[in-house]
Symmetry: C2
Subunit: 474 residues, 2 copies
């Protein structure tokens, strides 16, 4: 247990806050619900951006930027959309010293602004598809906030695509949720359940919402990314038609999809321990840190010289030699452990004599002595191993904590302890509401490609054709 | 002259608007003064970000993110700052369906928020320096806007550094303006004048402001980047002290510096012509486009096969083969010319027989036949040549249009035709005001490392020790 960090067993929520603040990932700001993302945290976001952006571009998307202010009247054009978002908006009523004729909302999401622009850009099927993504800040005025997981302002990406056919728009929606799944698993080492949200839980304005749901260490679910098939809803709201190949006017089909800085909260709650952060190597801004150990100036010179020589030609962003001489090695160990750096390398005078170093992996704490010669490929292999191990652990946790439940009383009791529960549900809103009210848990998704299975709704016992995933959530 | 583009001679302002809109760099939005940056324009911004971000990181800076909302009272803590920025702020008065206790302004710049946070992070000289940069959107409610050059919302980066000594903070301020200069010249092919702003033109809250000033094709100046030495002004406003090495409490010294999407406007007005955009190769998202030419299906197969074979192993982001079969080659030429792609390659059936292609450079329009074999290094060299040529042209323009002026009447007449004028100025606000009122031009900067030269103020004829740069500006 690290100094100043509450253990998970003592208080899981406080543990999370301690980790975020002490590792300097983020800080509270003077504006209620808004956070400051400090360099340690922002470095993770930069890596998330880098990899996702590449995946988006490889699938033909381009980035653009739309205004953060949206005329209030735009929201009202799509009936469900305004109902979902208007209560959460921050509203600019004055600007440049004057009251505005029409108030502007700070974007909670950009469908309305973007479809107002698409109206000008789309005339013919030749203008389609439009595959645009935006990296931006958005604002949703939340009552209860939590660092990274739910903040009033957050950073995200929002893709907004326009298509000539329903099939193409649905294929895009599915493609993007699977890109999110791939990213979560391969880069964040965070396995997810892919599925469809219920009618009541879908995005305000969507025909269908797909999501990825992660299971965090306390067994709660985190909706970590969503991809919406919007049908022609926004095209109708903003009168966006195109001439199809048969020279007929038709409304355009749409998708939108997004992930946010919430992912960082998911990463922290997936892997970290009572000693601090654990960062998956593929998201680490700094994969390797050297902590040289010395007791005299001669020893200092010796170990630093050896560390310098060993790392000749290495990528400067791959490692750092922590040569601060006003901080003791033990304190450095704790600091880097707290900050979740995947590999720590200890190098002292005797190591220099033996031409070896002590390599410590953050995930297991395991120490191995390795020869200095040929170290780089061994470290790269170790980083891969750490990445794999984190994913395997998270997968194991998910598997072990995913249960079948058929009795509502038992379910209600069990779900409080965390975990995913596969339950039968008839599809009625009233039964979904009942689950939420009685058990403080929700239906997270209807699993994608889920097997059909005849059964009875856990609430009303009417027939059900497949199991859904229910859990407590963030 | 391209279809639908006003020539520069006809109407320079309209030419600029035509270029921006027709090349799909940007579009007007439904919110007054806010623009939409379309993929073509955003690709340029991504390249600007990529290169500048690397230069920032190489000089030890890290990225972070601070809230976009700032409590209104924060602005008032620094007297000059509030006077400069309060009139331009957009104000959020309502959020989450309620009136806020204290209104929030949408950041016009983030000194106040960041120094409110630095107060929590700085205790000792050991916590210094802090070298943080932020990529973000900001809002300044402008009355008269112009695409890219002056918009209500814009994208920028803002560096905010904290130091233990005045010397270090000044050195940082100077380092950053020189990074901007280097970036403008090496990447944007846009030579700039580096200098100090006058007391009246400096940043609201700064001790001293350095800027880079570019000369655009109409001879007007564009302030393209600024770096401010803030002294202890914000440290005093937010009570940020540190214990120095002598264990004394001292206020922290600061710098801030920024460039914005305005740079894209500067790039367009530096290089483009009556046929459309001209993009410096180092900022081009797409350096090379192939336009295959065919008249029959057999010819199509032949030229596409040759184009594919030639480009085997090339970086996919380096080139594109425009194989649209519903658009004629001539129209493709115009489109890519309008979009400013540095190199166009024409490849027809006879070229395939001769194993050669026709290479057309965008800057001069010059056509050269090159053998298919060994083409890539030749294209790379040509791109370098285009980059150099654009810089040389812009430098020539700046040199030819920088004049000495000693008589105010003559200056007043001359400055209307554009160009930079080296004039003597006594340093008094009243003479600076006189220049602005009578000639609609301003003192752009006091050149950095400018030579001392005895002279008389162009307005009051009192002694002056050096010449300053005056010009009309955007």
């Amino acid at each position: 247990m690290a100094k100043g960090i509450t253990t998970r067993e003592q208080n899981y929520s406080q543990w999370y806050i301690d980790i975020v603040l002490k590792s300097e990932m983020a800080d509270y700001s003077p504006v209620k619900g808004c956070m400051v993302i400090r360099p340690t945290g922002y470095g993770i976001w930069e890596n998330i951006q880098k990899h996702l952006d590449r995946m988006f571009k490889e699938t033909g998307h381009q980035n653009a930027y739309f205004p953060m202010f949206i005329p209030e009247s735009f929201l009202t054009k799509e009936a469900e959309h305004v109902e979902g978002f208007a209560p959460e908006c921050a509203v600019v009523t004055h600007a440049g010293g004057k009251e505005l004729e029409e108030p502007l909302v700070v974007r909670p999401t950009s469908e309305t602004m973007i479809w107002a622009m698409y109206k000008n850009w789309i005339n013919s099927y030749r203008d389609l598809p439009i595959l645009i993504n935006q990296w931006a800040n958005v604002c949703r005025w939340e009552m209860r906030t939590r660092l990274f997981l739910r903040t009033t302002e957050f950073l995200w990406q929002e893709g907004h695509t326009a298509h000539a056919t329903e099939e193409e728009a649905i294929a895009e929606t599915e493609q993007m949720v699977h890109i999110y799944q791939k990213f979560a698993e391969e880069y964040m080492a965070m396995p997810v359940m892919v599925g469809t949200k219920t009618e009541q839980e879908k995005f305000a304005g969507a025909v269908k919402t797909l999501s990825i749901e992660a299971m965090l260490q306390d067994g709660k679910a985190l909706q970590a990314g969503t991809s919406h098939y919007l049908g022609q809803n926004f095209a109708k709201a903003f009168d966006v038609k195109f001439q199809n190949q048969n020279k007929e006017q038709e409304y355009v089909y749409a998708s939108s999809w997004g992930v946010s800085t919430r992912l960082i909260g998911g990463m922290i709650m997936s892997h970290s321990d009572d000693n601090g952060l654990v960062i998956p190597p593929k998201l680490a801004s700094l994969p390797v840190v050297f902590v040289p150990i010395w007791r005299s100036d001669e020893e200092m010179e010796l170990v630093l010289k050896n560390a310098d020589e060993m790392t000749q030609g290495w990528d400067k962003l791959f490692f750092k030699i922590d040569d601060r001489d006003n901080v003791k090695p033990g304190r450095k160990f704790n600091e880097w452990e707290l900050k979740g750096i995947p590999i720590r390398i200890e190098i002292g005078p005797r190591d220099c004599e033996n031409k070896e170093v002590v390599v410590v992996r953050r995930d297991t704490g395991e120490k191995v002595t390795m020869p200095m010669e040929g170290l780089l490929p061994k470290l790269e292999a170790l980083l891969d191993d750490i990445q794999d191990n984190l994913l395997a652990n998270a997968q194991k946790r998910m598997d072990e904590n995913t249960h079948i439940a058929d009795d509502f009383k038992e379910y209600k009791k069990a779900v409080k302890t965390g975990g995913f529960y596969k339950i039968h549900w008839c599809g009625e809103n009233s039964c979904e509401d009942y689950i939420q009210e009685r058990s403080k848990s929700t239906i997270r998704c209807i699993p994608y490609n889920g097997e059909e299975e005849e059964g009875e709704c856990i609430v009303c016992h009417k027939p059900s054709k497949r199991r859904v995933i229910a859990a407590q959530s963030y």
